[in-house]
Symmetry: C2
Subunit: 324 residues, 2 copies
Amino acid sequence: MSTHTSDKHLLYKIAKAYYQDELTQHDIARRFGLSRVKVSRLLEQARQEGIVKITVVPPPGTFADLERQLEARFGLLEAVVVAPARYDRANVVRELGQAAADCLMRCLKGREILTMSWGTTLRATVDALPSRNWPHMTVVQMAGGLGRPEAEVYGSDLTRRAAQALGARSRMIPAPGIVASKLARDALLADTHIAETLAMAARADVALVGLGALTPDSVVLQVSSLLTEEQINELKALGMVGDIALRCYDAYGRPIRHEVNERIIALELEQIKRIPRVIGVAGGTGKYESIRAALRGGLINVLVTDDRTAARLLSEPNSHRTER
Amino acid sequence: MSTHTSDKHLLYKIAKAYYQDELTQHDIARRFGLSRVKVSRLLEQARQEGIVKITVVPPPGTFADLERQLEARFGLLEAVVVAPARYDRANVVRELGQAAADCLMRCLKGREILTMSWGTTLRATVDALPSRNWPHMTVVQMAGGLGRPEAEVYGSDLTRRAAQALGARSRMIPAPGIVASKLARDALLADTHIAETLAMAARADVALVGLGALTPDSVVLQVSSLLTEEQINELKALGMVGDIALRCYDAYGRPIRHEVNERIIALELEQIKRIPRVIGVAGGTGKYESIRAALRGGLINVLVTDDRTAARLLSEPNSHRTER
DNA sequence: ACCCAAAATGAACAAATGTTCACCCTCGAA
DNA sequence: TTCGAGGGTGAACATTTGTTCATTTTGGGT
């Protein structure tokens, strides 16, 4: 087993020829009178024995390693961590939006179906979208809106603007996200256009979602006209820590069974999970529990967040392995 | 053209995934939502930009870089440089022999034709050969011998012993290397066995040769019984600096045209040149000119020598590029 | 000498990687 | 707006690399 000097010597010569001179293994074999397979094995050995060292230099001012740890820990396709200049909500949201837009654009080619929910973070994302001309792309709304006043943030508007920026077709849900009764919901779902839109969202290639949390400014909590104080407390009692597109989940990212679900017009969590790429964008104070839950439950497979939240997620001693 | 930070960031992530996590480019593409081709190109870029650094660590106590320079400068398939413990002729020769044997064994598989000349250095090489059992190999003598007295070094003996060590068949030339007249030479060449042996040597896969020089102990010079003082002076006047298998060459490795060639029984330089792998072994004081010439003329394509001679060969400002 | 277990080998196959080329953006000028 | 140059893109192809497995070789024990 102990390797003689002259062995190392040969390993060195071959490694040098391969990695520096960029000869092919075939050429090296010919020159040194070895078989190509043997050269392959010797190179393998050279790497093993540390004769060949490959270093990847981390670019400064970046959180690539944090990202890698998140990816590994939560089984993500990708994690993107940004370092906001300041940690006030407005700035964090803006920077998250920029990063999410970059990340999204990188994986779009111009022919896929993108479905998205809405919220302040996604608004920032849409604001950061560059302009494209992708007539073969479709942007589909994932959840009903929340009425007039906040239409710019909580309705079809984001979907429309995203589609416009990308030069894509759009598909909106002309209905509220939460209605008064199951009956009303069923009536709306009977509408061909709405049903088809949801069906299309369900087979999207990419989803872009914000992760709601139980902060005072939470969307879900604010819809007091349709959700009573009592119902909100029931949801909390059932372990709710956050929502994606109005669908509430518990600390393990499991859907919460509650009557309110029957009054919601949006993709279900299970449907979202089935989308190949679900980009979750969330960060700043108060989002931690919700993000952790979404990661645990495998509700998203790409996460865009800030460095503090990222560090906090990794400080957890041992989180459940995701199921994705 | 100027590379933005976030570009480098992506390069880093991908390089890390490829070189550290050993994911395939295909997997990386899938994860990051890129095409495989793009990943390939990004990795290329990462190497270019120095984000990926590949170092090959030189094993200590070795002359790998000297070897590489020799290879590059003289267009060799391989150079082997040894550092003799002491520089007395006996020791240099012993160490050269060891190295040559290693180098030879490395490129033999057991089914080829090996042709060899003779001399003190080759004797050391044969002494260092390990024992094998290669019935499909043939060892062929390349040049006639030099008579009784020094038979052990200057005749068929080396070929026989090499074949024996390797368990190979052997093919000897039962004739002197230099005869008295062209007539005598022609008569010997008419012998079927001798002719066939030379023909076989000519199509050998590997040749093992010593490089003769004009040192006082030179073989060629010592054959005074057949070479007159005058003839030797003629050869020198024609520029002779050394010989391979009794075939003399000038400072550029070109064969010397002289009557003595017609009285020699050995492969010609042109024939030797055509052998795919010609391992030249020589080193120590006095061999420099001869080695340089053989290299210049492309007479050999593998060189085994000592570190001092190697350094001297490289100190030459600008030698002719070899023709091989 | 002979035999055997363990390691090494390379041919054939499978996978991964690199390259080419036709096409499609994007952007800037008319 | 149209046009065209220049750069980027990925499908298809070519090359390179890795792996498996039947066979050979080696080294050590009789």
